[in-house]
């Protein structure tokens, strides 16, 4: 818990690689009512693969950093692979074990992405 706000997370939060909106992409969004987090992902899909994706919205550092990390992971991946992904893969890259309340924040991006690939 002490290590939650370590450099990797703060870096992704303050200097995200994938923040923005892809015009003409497919999109999905979700809100985490208890926190006020809202996240939208837009993505370009070619031949069953995500070729580019961006996220936008507002939320805590954990939810936004996790979304950026997630997009790092999925760009280039097949939609069928994304459907099988679980939150623990993000947690591994974040390098911390999350408490139940912070899992909600960290998994928000994946929740949105799953919605998007199922459209």
């Amino acid at each position: 818990m002490d290590d939650l706000y370590q450099e990797i997370i703060l870096d992704h939060y303050k200097y995200p690689t994938h923040k923005g909106i892809l015009e003409g992409g497919i999109e999905a969004g979700e809100v985490n009512m208890s926190c006020g987090d809202s996240l939208r992902i837009t993505a370009k899909v070619e031949k069953g693969k995500i070729v580019d994706a961006k996220f936008s919205g507002g939320g805590c550092a954990i939810s936004l950093a996790a979304a950026d990390i997630l997009l790092d992971m999925v760009i280039g991946k097949k939609l069928t692979e994304i459907k099988k992904m679980s939150g623990t893969e993000i947690e591994k890259i974040m390098g911390v074990e999350l408490t139940p309340s912070r899992k909600k924040c960290a998994y928000l991006g994946l929740e949105v992405l799953k919605k998007l690939v199922n459209v």
Binding site: L4, Y5, E7, Y13, K14, Y15, M33, D37, R102
Partner: protein
């Protein structure tokens, strides 16, 4: 300042803890825990039934709390004190038990923009069911716009439901003035007050307030969880239907139908939370022993100290007024990219031993109104709070900022 921390076993066990979440729930003093334990170990019988001494004692202790609460909040009759499971249950009991029979299509119900969801959603639902109109009293500069009162409250207004103290802003609403003006417009108006954030902080006098219903929880005033009170004026009780049916609330039951007990029992079906009610009695004794004036002045000193300290930081914004408030402080940072209240609260908890709450504090409309959809960070005081706790909170908050400020690109 008197040291009240030594009266709370949790704080004795955790001397480095800065518990600043009393608005959510207060810690429990030893005397309350002892009284609950005494019930379970010495006379743990059901009430209102047994004719053996142990049950008689349980009944006496339970009913004695009704008397204590009545004296504590100065009701006219002891029978106006109804035990519920908490403020939320109390407010739902009014909306169902009174509202269902007395609010009709086209009637108006007025609530404010600073209500906790538990004093908002029950009315929203009632109005939906009955075809009544829900009107929101505007909040500006962290308080109700008093000049506008007569534009919200008119001859069609059947009910006003307001909080006495905002759980986000700390603002104390001028209930007596509101009641007086509202009764001039419509003498029959039903006035419901959410007192969850008031009763444990200053003297509440029901007869002076002259309201119809008043709701509060034991666990926000040093008592146990699972029990609360609905003050229901005697004349209003006669207009109410019970919400729950079963044992203890009936007069007679026949195969064809039943009739109800008269008095608070009508609303207390089933075995009540006996131990918790008895614990509430001990909490009332605890507060009366200190004296509500002492409680209020202890908190006032800390409020002034906290505001003075927070004001020095231009990048911290404190919501709420300086005066006429209780010790609930919701803060945000003035700039972007500093995370949200959830981040700050999580770091304050794990690195600085400071317990504060993050989010909407069950008041989403108020946060949207203030343009703070990600919520706020809330610190709230209790009798055991000290200047050291406030120092730890403010200093921790400055350190939290540094964590976000010091992240370099790359």
């Amino acid at each position: 300042m008197a040291d009240y921390k030594k009266l709370f076993p949790l704080l004795i066990k955790n001397p480095d803890l800065h518990y600043l979440d009393s608005g959510a729930t207060t810690l429990k003093p030893q005397v309350v825990l002892d009284k609950i334990m005494e019930y379970y170990t010495e006379y743990s019988a059901n009430i209102h039934r047994g004719l053996y001494p142990m049950s008689e004692r349980a009944t006496m202790e339970y009913e004695n709390v009704r008397k204590k609460v009545a004296t504590f909040i100065n009701t006219k009759h002891e029978s106006e004190v109804v035990f519920t499971s908490g403020t939320t249950a109390s407010l739902n009991l009014v909306s169902r038990g009174w509202g269902e029979d007395n609010i009709l299509e086209g009637d108006e119900v007025v609530i404010s923009e600073m209500e906790h969801h538990s004093n908002l959603v029950p009315w929203q639902e009632l109005c939906k069911r009955k075809g009544a109109i829900l009107r929101y009293w505007l909040v500006e500069d962290f308080q109700l716009v008093m000049a506008d009162m007569e534009t919200y409250i008119g001859p069609k207004t059947k009910l006003i439901a307001l909080t006495q103290v905002s759980n986000v802003l700390g603002t104390v609403n001028p209930i007596e003035e509101i009641v007086e003006r509202a009764r001039k417009i419509n003498p029959k108006i039903c006035i419901v007050i959410d007192g969850a954030q008031a009763v444990g902080h200053f003297k509440v006098d029901i007869q002076e307030l002259n309201v119809d219903f008043y709701a509060f929880s034991a666990h926000k005033m040093y008592g146990p969880t699972g029990v609360g009170v609905l003050y229901a004026k005697a004349s209003r009780q006669l207009q109410m239907s019970p919400e729950n049916f079963g044992g203890g609330m009936i007069k007679e039951v026949h195969k064809e139908g039943a009739s109800w007990a008269i008095g608070p029992e009508k609303f207390e079906a089933g075995t009540p939370p006996i131990a918790q009610v008895i614990g509430l009695g001990a909490a009332v004794d605890f507060l009366s022993g200190i004296g509500m004036e002492t409680v209020a002045s202890h908190e006032k000193e800390l409020i002034d100290y906290a505001i003075g300290k927070l004001e020095k930081y231009s990048n911290i914004r404190v919501l709420g007024k300086k005066n006429n408030r209780i010790g609930v402080f919701s803060v945000v940072f003035n700039d972007e990219d500093m995370g949200t209240a959830h981040d700050w609260s999580s770091i304050l908890g794990s690195k600085f031993n400071v317990c504060v709450r993050a989010g909407h504090h069950c008041a989403m409309p108020l946060h949207n109104l203030m343009g703070l959809p990600s919520g706020t960070l809330r610190a709230s005081l209790g009798i055991y709070s000290t200047k050291e706790d406030i120092d730890a909170f403010v200093e921790g908050l400055i350190e939290v900022r540094k964590i976000f400020e010091e992240t370099d690109n790359g």
